[in-house]
Every structure is written in structure tokens, then in C-alpha cells.
């Protein structure tokens, strides 16, 4: 019998395994066969190893069935798994096998999930296109000539292409939500502090957050249940009860107050994106939501603020890649060893960001750039606080355009940076956000709708997203591969 389990959602797979209709081995082999058939084209994985999968299956054998028992999960390659290659898509981490597990990996394993492979990403998560990985670009399953979005492009594409039931990405400026939009899947950035960052190789510590990719809102809630936890190993994780997010899977948004920020519908936004998002908003209104315009006056400064804070923190976080303890090491006397290791190990975008970040922190520039950005960040937080006084959530496009062509923006960093304009504010302010499929551009390219809510109100995102999903069919369409 041909094994079509890869077409199912995590929830469906979990139910089948629970009823003993299928085994974890069958589920895993369905996905690994799928990877074998199509990943040459998609390149969603950096490392994928049948031996590792066997080991994962052995680990759950005879264990109490957890919430994700036997569900194959792809994990972005910047999340540490003990003894397994973890490269961040960078040559500088060549051969690096962390001696410890990220807390989210411990959480996944506690619930019986199977790590099926390591998802491709922009090098160190620097990018919006998944083109800067030293392991080659990931391709959009909907159109192999196009980018899947980034930086968690591999994690998004793997779920869209049926190479994993669900996956984990990380979101620093939209790195989950934007590829989710471009690949036609659900992708959520939880509230800063909801999911432990311990074991996530940091890009920008005050912006990074691990989050789920899924084909629908139910899977998203299931995975969020598992990865959310207070972690005493992460000082920025928040000691707050984790609700059962599946309780928010309610097909009802009557009376929910939705704000539409006028600053998000300006020039530069693709007409088809605008149309799809407008239709989606009309549907939400029809379903009983109270929709009104809201103002987030500092939206225009989000990209500038982000491209100061992000690179500044990154320049410091990436200083540890110096050839001393692990990864690539160039030959020569100490200073040459440092400079040549980092010259050979980092790609151009990583170098650009490190240099930009070093610059904005350097003597004489700190106040003008870094401190200024931290203050504008306060302004943006105030914008959202004010907006959430009158609204339960805010709805926007996730990305101003559908997926663009591979290579189109690599030499124009600024235009690449501007593609994150709608997703960045949630990272700067710590609020949760989700992207859900809300339409297609004429060439069958997915379009995403972003929903934002107050800190720790992921339930609102799930409720609104679920209601939309239950009254539309965009999430059911799959790419032909």
C-alpha cells in the first residue's frame, strides 16, 4: 500500500498512531520517502539522516504516548540537538555537534516527537529568502524558481511540501511568519519569553523567538502546547502558566475587535496581496468581528530600528565564532587565525550584518544609532499598547509581496530588508503574531494574513486564525510537486 501519511496533519497522524492504525515507523518512513523523492528539488533540509531517524524511533519505543507521539518534526538548523550537526547554514559551524539539547528539543522528545531532519535557513537567520545558506537555497514548493521566504525557509517549505508534518523555526524579524506566508502554511511567532531560547543559536537575543510551522491552526496549537514552557535556564523566559492552546480552537469571532493599521496599506504593497488581505478582512467582518482602522504611527521606522538593534546584537552574539573551540579554523598566527577563519566561515550577508552591528555600537556612534533605536522601540511599544486598548487583535498582510525570484534581491540588501516591514514590529515589541494562508496570487503563489495580539494572548491568534480557516479553504490547497 502506498504510504500517503505525509499528506496528513500532525493531529491526524497522532490520532492514527493512538488508535494503532499506523506505527511511528510507518509515519516516519512516509515522510522520509517523501524527502527522498523531492528534497533534491526543494532543498528544505541541511542534514537528514535515516540513522538518526532510527535512533529517534528507538527513543520513543515503549514510552508513554505523548502529545506528538510519532509525529515527524523538522527542526531549523539553529536549534541545538545533542550530538547532531547544527550548522546555522554557515560554513563556520562546519562539523559542529552541540554537546547539549535546546530546551525545545527536550520538550519535543518528552512528547514523543520524531526529529526528522534539520531544516535549511539563511546563514545565522540573516535573510528573508533562504538564499544565504552555505548549503544552497531552499526553493519554494509552489514555484521552484522562487524563494520560500526566510530565514526559516527550509522549515516552512518542508511543511508545505509534505516533508515534515510540522516544524520549528525561529523568528527575529519575521523569519517564521514571512516564509509561512510565502509557502502557504501557518507560522507563529509566540510572545517573547513564551518559548525558551536556551539552545537556539542567537541572532538577536532580544528579538529571537522559536515558533511552530503547521498546515493548519490545530497543528499549530498542538505544537505550541509542547514547546511553550518556563525555562529556568533562560532568564528571559516568562514564568507563566501554559494554557491548553487547543481550547482556543473555536470557530467563533463574534464581537472580536480587529484593528487594521492604516500604515500597513501604503505604496509598495503588491496589488494581489492587497486584494487578498482585503477580502480576508471582509470575511472576518462577515463572521462577526468588529473591524475598524487603527494607527501605528511609528511603523515607518520599524525597519530602521530593526536594522540597528538586530545587527548590533548579532555582531556580539557571533563574536564567539572565532575558531578556538569548534567549527572552522584557519591557519596562522592568532590575529590571522581570527580574521581568516571569520572571512572564510561567514558569507557576505553575515559579514555585512556583523560590520553594520559593529559600526552602530562603535565609539562615537552608540548614542546616534543604537540608543536612538532603543528609544524608537519604546515608541513602537507605546503604539501597540494604545492600539490594544481598543482592539483584541490587529490584522495586516504578512509580506508586501508574494515570493520573489531566486537571486532577484541578493545584491540589494536594502530592498531585501524592506520585505520584513510588516513582521518586524512584533519582534521589536515582543508581541505574538501568526501568519495564515489567505489567498493566492495568479501564478499560484500563496499570500499570508498576519494577526497580532497582546503579549501572551496567543489564544486570540488561534481563535481568529481557526475561525478564518474553518470558513475558507486556502490552507487545504497543496503545491504540486
Amino acid at each position: 500500500m502506498p504510504n500517503d501519511l505525509y499528506k496528513l496533519t500532525a493531529y491526524e497522524i497522532r490520532e492514527l498512531i493512538k488508535k494503532r492504525d499506523v506505527s511511528p515507523e510507518e509515519a516516519a518512513s512516509s515522510f522520509s520517502d517523501r524527502i527522498g523523492r523531492i528534497d533534491d528539488k526543494v532543498n528544505a533540509f541541511i542534514s537528514y539522516d535515516k540513522e538518526n531517524i532510527k535512533e529517534e524511533l528507538k527513543r520513543i519505543k515503549g514510552k508513554e504516548a505523548g502529545a506528538l507521539y510519532g509525529v515527524p518534526v523538522a527542526v531549523k538548523d539553529n536549534i541545538c540537538v545533542e550530538g547532531r550537526l547544527t550548522t546555522c547554514g554557515s560554513k563556520i559551524l562546519e562539523g559542529f555537534k552541540p554537546p547539549y539539547n535546546a530546551t525545545v528539543i527536550e520538550n519535543l522528545r518528552r512528547e514523543g516527537a520524531i526529529v526528522i531532519g534539520r531544516a535549511n535557513m539563511d546563514e545565522f537567520a540573516f535573510g528573508s529568502s533562504c538564499e544565504t545558506s552555505c548549503y544552497g537555497p531552499t526553493r519554494n514548493p509552489w514555484d521552484l524558481e522562487r524563494i520560500p521566504g526566510g530565514s526559516s525557509g527550509g522549515a516552512a517549505a518542508s511543511v508545505a511540501a509534505g516533508e515534515a508534518a510540522i516544524s520549528l523555526g525561529s523568528d527575529t524579524g519575521g523569519s517564521i511568519r514571512q516564509p509561512a506566508a510565502l509557502c502557504g502554511v501557518v507560522g507563529m511567532k509566540p510572545t517573547y519569553g513564551r518559548v525558551s531560547r536556551y539552545g537556539l543559536i542567537a541572532f538577536a537575543s532580544s528579538l529571537d523567538q522559536i515558533g511552530p510551522f503547521a498546515r493548519d491552526m490545530r497543528d499549530c496549537a498542538l505544537l505550541l502546547n509542547v514547546i511553550s514552557s518556563y525555562d529556568p535556564k533562560d532568564s528571559t523566559s516568562v514564568d507563566r502558566k501554559v494554557p491548553d492552546y487547543t481550547n482556543a480552537l473555536v470557530n467563533d469571532i463574534k464581537g472580536v475587535r480587529i484593528g487594521i493599521p492604516k500604515e500597513y496599506f501604503i505604496e509598495g504593497i503588491d496589488a494581489q496581496v492587497k486584494d487578498s488581505v482585503s477580502s480576508a478582512i471582509k470575511l472576518l467582518e462577515k463572521l462577526g468581528a468588529k473591524v475598524d482602522e487603527v494607527s501605528l504611527p511609528h511603523t515607518d521606522h520599524a525597519v530602521s530600528t530593526y536594522y540597528i538593534i538586530g545587527p548590533a546584537e548579532a555582531s556580539s552574539n557571533l563574536a564567539r565564532f572565532d575558531g578556538v573551540q569548534y567549527g572552522l579554523r584557519a591557519k596562522g598566527p592568532l590575529l590571522d587565525m581570527y580574521k581568516d577563519t571569520r572571512a572564510a566561515g561567514f558569507g557576505d550577508e553575515a559579514k555585512r550584518r556583523i560590520i553594520l552591528g559593529t559600526y552602530v555600537l562603535s565609539s562615537g556612534y552608540y548614542d546616534a544609532y543604537y540608543l536612538k533605536a532603543l528609544k524608537v522601540r519604546t515608541k513602537m511599544r507605546e503604539d501597540f499598547e494604545k492600539a490594544f486598548e481598543s482592539f483584541d487583535c490587529i490584522v495586516t498582510p504578512t509580506s508586501p509581496t508574494p515570493a520573489f525570484k531566486i537571486g532577484e534581491r541578493v545584491d540589494d540588501p536594502l530592498s531585501m530588508y524592506l520585505s520584513d516591514i510588516f513582521t518586524i514590529p512584533a519582534n521589536l515589541t515582543g508581541i505574538p503574531g501568526v501568519s495564515i494562508p489567505c489567498g493566492f496570487a495568479e501564478t499560484d503563489l500563496p499570500i499570508g494574513l498576519q494577526i497580532l495580539a497582546r503579549p501572551f494572548n496567543e489564544e486570540m491568534l488561534i481563535r481568529v486564525g481557526y475561525t478564518f480557516q474553518e470558513n475558507s479553504a486556502f490552507h487545504k490547497k497543496r503545491p504540486r510537486l
Binding site: 552541540p98 543559536i201 538577536a204 532580544s206 532568564s235 528571559t236 564567539r320 578556538v324 598566527p333
Partner: protein
């Protein structure tokens, strides 16, 4: 103030002290000294990708304690910052430190220098993590890195340039060390690096208002080394100035064996540490309640105790300052003093024989205290009482002391066991005296003729015959009586 005839010296000290917590500042690895390289490390202190720091609560209370002890104001809000630079012993490429919001600032330390008290202002006290250790491989183009020390909690204590001479620097360090030991927050062992000191020093012509160009001295491994390095630097700078030259602002490494310092190779570029707030650690509020509860744990500090020893026990200045230097010694003294009301005699014994026995036996052992000698205060007092009662002589007491240390017996037991009691039985003494008188006819004659010195000689002979077990006082009296000149 003057160290030379023409110039005034200005010195500021930067002391790094390791706090003696069980675990490191941001992870659970042990801080124990001397382990095999890299056996006390984990993803956090190795700075592995993805690992995150979590602040050790005890470090904060220790640091507040020190801040209060050097009379600083404690910040109500504290945060950590990253100090970015590349060095192989710094695994993250930055050190977690404190930049614009140090835990404590604007303090002062009163030191005793040249017999007078002087205030040295403290600029700031801040927390940071220690780096690893580099071992240079002789004859090879490589170095070895041991990360065990990484993440050991460090307190940096920076003084204002209020120190005027190398001796004052020495006295400042001595005072600071005494305080830290009193607080019980550090071993202060310079050899093991738990206390390290860098110095800034400049010279200016007398009367000139603005300070001269300063140099920074590093790599001094003892207090004496600090003093020597400063003395060397004063001479060096003075020579340059006298020749009409200019001082170059630089960092110089002290070589203790060679007794001189040399300029560190100039950096490829100026330092730019790019400090910014550590995003992986949250800010900390230090409220009055916390500060108050820490304040309650601060014992009487050495300077105050010194004053009290002068006024309450009427101790001589030197004895008092020696005893208060070390908290355990001072505690020991006070325990004895409650049992025995002649404090100066106790002080004499402590600063004399007891400390010298201690140095002989424990000088190389860290954390050893005077109590480790095993002489209980009751035993010392018992010994002093035996002297008072004339049961033993001072000389015998000096002989008994090491016995007490070796055997852990009470002085009474030792005296009994070894038959060291003074011969108080007058009949027994009389026999010995008669023997001495009859075999020393000449001195006896002399004495009778008024020659006082002869008596001393005769007493000596008796003492010799009794192996010191007679009371000189009694022998004296009995001899006079027997020779008819009472």
C-alpha cells in the same frame, strides 16, 4: 605625599577579586581552584552557541556586602553589559560586565598609613565574569586554553587616584584584603589569582594642578610586587621627565623576577569595547529591604575594631593593627580576652609566638586560620595562668606552646606529663641552692661584700641546675636569705 623631591605621585588601583561562591556567576559549574583543565565547564561558561546565562543570587548579596563595606551607595537598579573584544580565553568574544550602572559607586576606604588614617575614595564596584587561563607552551608556537576559570564571579573595585605612594598602595591593598576577609566573600589569595591588582600611576611636578600622563601596570602577583612595580615606575618616569622626555600612555607588564616592567606590545588598533546592555540577562532591582538584610550580615570591620582594641583593651598600636588584620585572629584574641583580663599579655603571645608558629606551619595553606593551630582559647589562658601562679616560667611556656600544637593536649597535661612544673617545694630547692652555694664560694663571697651582680650569676646557676624549672623570683629570695642579706 612626596615620593621624590621634585614630583608628586598619583596612583589609582583597580582590584579584581574573585567571590567565593560555590558555583559560577552564570552557571552551576564549580569554582574550585586547581581542577584538571576544562573539567569545570558547561555550555554556559564555555559560551557555546545557544547557551544562556542565569545570575547567581549569592553573587549579588556578596557584591552588595562589599559595596556597603567600602561605604558606597548601592544602585537601586542594576544591569549587565557586554564588553566586546577578542581573546582566546574569552569564549563568547565578550565579557559580561557592568558599564554605566555599576552595582555600587562613590565610596571610601579609610586606611592606616604611616601611623595616620587616610581616606581613599572608591569610584565604583562592579560585577563581571572572569576569563579562562592561557598556558604558554615553551618553545612552541602555541598556547593552551583552560576555561575552568571562565565565569568565576569577579568584583572590580576601582579607587580614585587618591594614593600618593607605593607604601600607601600597599596599605590600601592590605586594608581592602582585611575587609574582604572579614566579609567572608573571598579567599583573597593572590597566588591563585583570587585577588588581582592593576595600577595607574602618573607623576607631575610639585604644584602643578593637572595630572601627568599615566601608565597602567599589570601582572603584579603580590602586594609587595605592587609596591615594587610602583617604585620602579616612579623612578622610570622621573628619569624620563628629568631628561626632558615625555611619558607615553601605555600598559606595562611587571616582571617580578627581573624587578622591572616592560611595555606591552602596542595594539593593532585602539580599544573599542562596544559596550551595550546584555540582552540575555534581565535588569535587577536592588531594593532597600535587600540592602538592609545584607547590611545586617556585615561584621564589625577591621578599622573600627582597631579603634575599639585601642580604647577597650588599651593595646599598643602595632599589636592592635596586627591582630585586627585577620578576623579569625582578632576573634581569637577577643575570646581569650573574655577569659583572661590582661589583654596586652594575650596580644604579646598572639603577635609573637602564636603567629610565628602559625606562619611556620600554615604559610602555604590557603584558608588556614589561627584556630587551625589547635590551641583553644581556654588552653592559652590556662597557660598564662600557670605563669602567673609561678607554676611555669615564661621560658617553659614558650617550650610548651609547640607541644600544645603537636599533641593537642592542655598545658596542664603537658606540664604534668613532662614534669615541667617549677620546683616550688622549698626543701627540694633548698638542697639545690645549698649545692650551688657550696660550689661557688667566690661569687658568694663577692655578694656578701656587696657585689650585686654576683647574685644574678648564682640565680643563673640554680636555674641551670633545675633545667629552668625553678621560679627565678623564688630562687632570688631564697638565695638572699641563705647568704644573710635578705
Amino acid at each position: 605625599m612626596t615620593t621624590t623631591a621634585k614630583y608628586e605621585t598619583t596612583i589609582g588601583l583597580e582590584v579584581h577579586v574573585q567571590l567565593s561562591t560555590q558555583s559560577k556567576i552564570f552557571c552551576g559549574c564549580s569554582t574550585k581552584f586547581g581542577a584538571t583543565a576544562n573539567t569545570q565547564t558547561c555550555p554556559v561558561c564555555m559560551g557555546l552557541p545557544g547557551a544562556l546565562p542565569v545570575f547567581n543570587r549569592k553573587v549579588l548579596s556578596y557584591a552588595i556586602k562589599v559595596g556597603l563595606a567600602v561605604n558606597c551607595s548601592i544602585a537601586g537598579m542594576m544591569k549587565f553589559d557586554r564588553k566586546n573584544y577578542f581573546y582566546p580565553d574569552l569564549p563568547k568574544g565578550f565579557q559580561i560586565s557592568q558599564y554605566d550602572l555599576p552595582l555600587a559607586a562613590n565610596g571610601e576606604l579609610v586606611i592606616l598609613t604611616g601611623g595616620v588614617q587616610k581616606k581613599i575614595r572608591i569610584t565604583r564596584v562592579h560585577l563581571e565574569e572572569d576569563a579562562g587561563k592561557l598556558i604558554h607552551v615553551e618553545g612552541e608556537d602555541s598556547s593552551l586554553v583552560d576555561f575552568n576559570r571562565c565565569g568565576t564571579p569577579l568584583l572590580e573595585i576601582v579607587s580614585e587616584p587618591d594614593i600618593d605612594s607605593p607604601q600607601e598602595a600597599y596599605d590600601y591593598l592590605t586594608e581592602l584584603k582585611a575587609i574582604l576577609k572579614y566579609l567572608g566573600v573571598s579567599d583573597c589569595n593572590m597566588e591563585e589569582g583570587s585577588l588581582r591588582c592593576d595600577a595607574n600611576i602618573s607623576l607631575r611636578p610639585k604644584g602643578q594642578r593637572e595630572l601627568g600622563v599615566r601608565t597602567e601596570l599589570k601582572n603584579m602577583n603580590t602586594f609587595k610586587g605592587v609596591k615594587n612595580a610602583l617604585e620602579y615606575e616612579i623612578e622610570r618616569q622621573e628619569e624620563i621627565l628629568e631628561d626632558g622626555g615625555r611619558i607615553v600612555q601605555e600598559t606595562r607588564l611587571w616582571n617580578d623576577a627581573a624587578g622591572k616592567s616592560s611595555s606591552m606590545r602596542s595594539k593593532e588598533e585602539a580599544f573599542d569595547y562596544r559596550y551595550f546592555p546584555e540582552p540575555d540577562l534581565v535588569p535587577f532591582t536592588v531594593d532597600k529591604k535587600l540592602v538592609g538584610s545584607v547590611r545586617e550580615t556585615i561584621p564589625e570591620l577591621p578599622r573600627k575594631r582597631y579603634e575599639r582594641f585601642l580604647s577597650d583593651y588599651k593595646l599598643p598600636v602595632l599589636a592592635a593593627s596586627t591582630i585586627v588584620q585577620d578576623k579569625d585572629t582578632a576573634d581569637y584574641f577577643e575570646e581569650c580576652a573574655t577569659l583572661y583580663k590582661k589583654p596586652h599579655i594575650i596580644a604579646n603571645w598572639i603577635t609573637g609566638d602564636i603567629l610565628s608558629e602559625f606562619n611556620k606551619r600554615f604559610s602555604s595553606e590557603r584558608n588556614a586560620t589561627i584556630m587551625d593551630l589547635g590551641i583553644k582559647p581556654e588552653d592559652l589562658v590556662e597557660m598564662l595562668r600557670l605563669i602567673d601562679k609561678g607554676e611555669i616560667s615564661g621560658k617553659i611556656a614558650k617550650a610548651i606552646l609547640p607541644e600544645m600544637i603537636e599533641t593537642k593536649q592542655s598545658p596542664d597535661e603537658i606540664v604534668k606529663a613532662k614534669g615541667m612544673f617549677q620546683i616550688k617545694d622549698k626543701d627540694e630547692l633548698a638542697k639545690i641552692l645549698d649545692g650551688v652555694i657550696s660550689s661557688n664560694a667566690k661569687p658568694v663571697e663577692d655578694y656578701k661584700n656587696g657585689k650585686e651582680a654576683a647574685l644574678a650569676f648564682l640565680v643563673g646557676q640554680v636555674m641551670k641546675a633545675t633545667k629552668g624549672k625553678a621560679s627565678p623570683k623564688i630562687v632570688n629570695e631564697m638565695l638572699k636569705e641563705r647568704m644573710g642579706r635578705p
